[in-house]
Each structure stands twice: as C-alpha cells, then as structure tokens.
Homo-oligomer: 266 residues x 2
DNA sequence: TTGCCAAGTCTTATATACTGGACTAGACTC
DNA sequence: GAGTCTAGTCCAGTATATAAGACTTGGCAA
C-alpha cells in the first residue's frame, strides 16, 4: 500500500563512489565538531584505508580540507571557508538574518536564533544567547529533524506531500520520544502554517522552554529560513506579545529583501 | 637541467575522476563570482554533459550546491556555508583577523585587508575599505599569485625552496607584466622576510598604491596569514609610521592567540 | 503546423577508481 | 633487541563510474 520510500544515497554494492565517500567524510567532520585523526577516519566511515588516504590527500591539496599537527588531524580548510563566504555573499537573506538575530537578542535580552533547512533537518545557522541567568542555547550548526520543531513546519508549509515525503530520511521520521511521525497528519500541520506570520512551539523538545518562530520568505515564495526566540515557558503574556510583534517585523524586513533579487527584477 | 615540475592534478586520459571534476566545478563557480547556468557548465569545464548533470545532482541533493530559478542557476549551497563556518570556529585566527581588520579600518580610516594563502596564491579573505575619497578595494575572495605581493613573501618566509617550488603552479610563476619568476631569487626574497615584523610593498601591482603587511603566525610557527594596509603612495611619513606600529601591534595580538591552541598547550 | 535549437535524460561500453591486502616505518614495551 | 602495535604506503584486479551519443522535451519562429 505504501510505495513511499525515503531515497537516501546508499551503497549498492562492494564499491562506493568517490564523491559519496567525500560527502560522508565532510558530514562526519561536521558532526564531530572539530578535527579528527586521519587514522581513525577509515573506521569511522566504514571505508577502506586506501580510499580514505587517497581522497583526503586530494582534498587537502585542494584546500577544502586541512591537515595539521604531526598527529594527522584533519578538518575543513580555508577553501571551504571561501566557498561558504561566497554563498553568504550571494544569499544576503542569510547574512541579514544573522545580523537581525544579533540585534533582536541585544534589544530584547532573549535568546534568538536563525534557522534554515537542509533536506529533512533544521539547522541552526546562527544563535545569540539572551541575558537571562539561565541560558538555553543550542549549538550552532546542530541539526534536528524538521518534525521536532515549529519553525520546521513553517519551512515546509509551501511544499506538497510528495515533496515533503521525498526530503524526509528515515531518521527524520521519529519524534524525540521515538514515536514514528504520521506523515499525513504532519503534512496537514505544515500546511496549516502556510501564510501564517508566526508559529509557536509545540513543546516537543523540552518542557521548560517555548519557541516563537517567524518565516523568512525568499524571492520564489518559499520559506527559506526562520527567525526565532527561545523563551522560558513562564514568560509574561505582555512581554510575549511584544516579542511576537518584533519577530513579525523582522521577518517582514528580511522577506522583502528577497524582492531586490536582480534575477527576478524584470 | 631543471627537473622541477609544478605538479597540478591533470587529466591523464580520456576519463577524469569525479572528485577532480567537482573541484574544478567549485573553482569555476568561485571564479564566476555568482550563479552559473547549469547548461553552460559542461562547456565551461570541458566535461561531458552526462557527467556534469550527474555530479551536480549529487551535490545539490547533498546541499553543497543549490539549484535555483527555473533557468537552472547553480551556485554554492547552505551546506558549504555551514562547513565554512565550522572552519572559522575551529580557526579563530581567521575570525579574529576579520574583526581586527574592521577595527583597524575604522580607527585609521585606511583600507585594511586580511589575506591568507592557498597553495601558490594569495587570497583576500576580508577587506574593509577606508574613508578616503578614492577607495582602492580588492574583491573579497580574489586570488593573486604569491610572487606579486609583499605579504605573499611573508607567507612563504618559513618554507624551503623545495616546498615553495611545490606549491607554485605554472600560472603563479609569471609577474603581472608577464616576466617569468626567477625561483632562486624569489625564495631568497621570501627568506629575507623571515621573522620580520612587517613587509612593505614592492610596488608590483600598480604604481599609485603601497601596501604594509604584517605576518600572523600560527601555533606551529608558520605565517598563516597577513594583515595589511593598502595606502596611497604619497602618505606622510609620520602617518605611515603610526600605521606600521598599529599593524605590528595587531599582528602580535593575533599571533599570540595561536598559543592558546589546546593541542599545543601541553 | 513544421522546423529548429537548446536543455536535459537515458543507455550502453570500457577505462579506471576503488578496494583488499600485503608491506614498510616508526613508537613504545618488555 | 625482539615483539607488538599503530600509521601510512603501495600494488594489482575487477566492479563500476565516466563518457559518448542517441533520445526526449519544450520553447520559439516562420
């Protein structure tokens, strides 16, 4: 009955493609949060030594990775940073989003975050902790399955069931408590967020914080990112309303920026 | 007589490796300075259509590239930015260098740049134009052959002739006027910069600006980057001395930061 | 309509990238 | 000095990724 299968790139035989190994390598380094020993990579990636040494050599020569210390630590290199910076320059929604988050956190004293989506995961691109004694901060770059968050629903609100189905890998289909995601219900929730100026947390991640999120819409009309406040659960209603208003304001400013995109301006 | 050959990765037959094609693709996008049409890539990279379409698909799915507009524009993706940001987090010399440049430019009103090295090229990682009516600014991310600059010499000062020979690709061995670089003489110039707190332009790029550069030394003692002022040629001596002092100060601050590196503190 | 071009997809063959595994070099122990 | 372990290099065979090129699709013009 259910022909849907999450299509992840998957090894189909004894050999795996070079690029796939490279992508996994990058992903591992990112998850690792810092340099890894070259010698441990083959095991960590379940890849042959000879392949990894070969690929790492190529990547280091190119500058995408860097090898340092005499103990063979590997991590991202300068070239990766250059390319990443080029992305930022070409997508000023991102750059402006970061600034906006800093501004909001400073003005309001509340933790503010800028999130985007990568396939079926939400990524915290930038965060600025608030001035409360209890700081609730998430690691920058950390990825969590889209269904866990309110802002995730915003980011899927413009997508069809089929599209959503296609981007959710198996591991994105379980809630924090392990329960499987009911796709149809989830998609309905996403669509319910469509054109909403704000979304509130569903309290899925923990019970003592709430989250306010506003969509940032790019020039093609999809929700490309969200800007959020992470708040304690017991914040006064009045303050919360003020924060919502600010967030909506911010989201409008950033979304409008997209209209300046030269490729769209006739 | 001259057994030295600059070793660039080069196609050795009818087929080329996937990674190599990917690296060239990235490099092309960077040089292009913005999104490129997918359909023009095969020609631009001298690669078969089927290969490029295949690779771009994989890279887009992974998030390293992004495909947008209905006219098939390709450029770097969010994942590239994430990885690049991870590089920055792990190499705070870079992050601090950027801030320092902003500070210097603001305080002094002069154009300030943060440069690093990628193989045989100098890359402008960050720049802040000064407040002079005539702004001399270089494109961020632009790459120029190391022998063209004073700060390039600083960045090679700790390397042996053999090492320098190995990183200079053929195109890095010509001066702006087309004259070939005399390797031995050039290496001697580099070594002359060793342990110098500052280097002054050699006036190789144009005749109406000069450049002051100071080395930034990483935890393993090599010059990893430079911080520079780009000045008009006729700046008063007194002002110039002040700027040199500031630059040396800045370079010391940043270089010391390297000592905090946990892997070295032991 | 028909013809044309450009953009993108699909299929098949073969040159070679990936793999396994043997090997070397060095560090550390006993 | 012999034994052991870990890190890294090297080599040859084969599963398969790359490449060539035919094919489909869509937009535009005559």
């Amino acid at each position: 009955m259910d022909g849907r299968v999450a299509k992840t790139r998957v090894a189909r035989g004894p050999r795996e493609r070079g690029i796939d190994r490279v992508l996994k390598l990058f992903s591992f380094l990112q998850a690792n949060g810092g340099p890894a020993r070259l010698a441990e990579l083959p095991q960590a990636l379940a890849a042959p030594k000879s392949t990894i040494y070969d690929l790492v050599n190529i990547l280091v020569e190119s500058g995408l990775l860097e090898l340092r210390g005499k103990d063979g630590q590997v991590y991202f290199g300068k070239l990766m940073h250059l390319y990443g910076a080029s992305y930022l320059r070409a997508n000023d929604i991102m750059a402006r989003g970061r600034e906006m988050v800093d501004g909001l956190a400073k003005e309001t004293g509340e933790t503010s975050e800028f999130c985007t989506r990568l396939r079926g995961k939400q990524v915290i691109v930038h965060a600025r902790p608030g001035s409360r004694p209890l700081r609730i901060s998430s690691e920058i770059g950390s990825q969590i399955p889209i269904p866990w968050t309110a802002s995730g629903r915003l980011m899927l609100s413009h997508m069809s069931l089929a599209e959503i189905d296609a981007i959710l890998d198996p591991e994105d289909r379980r809630m924090p408590n392990g329960a499987p995601v009911d796709l149809d219900a989830f998609v309905a929730e996403c669509h319910a967020c469509r054109d909403r100026p704000i979304a509130r947390t569903i309290g899925t991640i923990n019970s003592f914080t709430q989250c306010l999120a506003a969509p940032i819409i790019n020039h093609s009309g999809s929700v490309e990112a969200t800007i959020c406040f992470v708040l304690p659960i017991d914040i006064p209603e009045e303050k919360k309303n003020d924060l919502e208003a600010r967030l909506i304001e911010a989201s409008k400013t950033l979304s409008l920026a997209g209209l300046k995109d030269p490729s769209e301006a006739g």
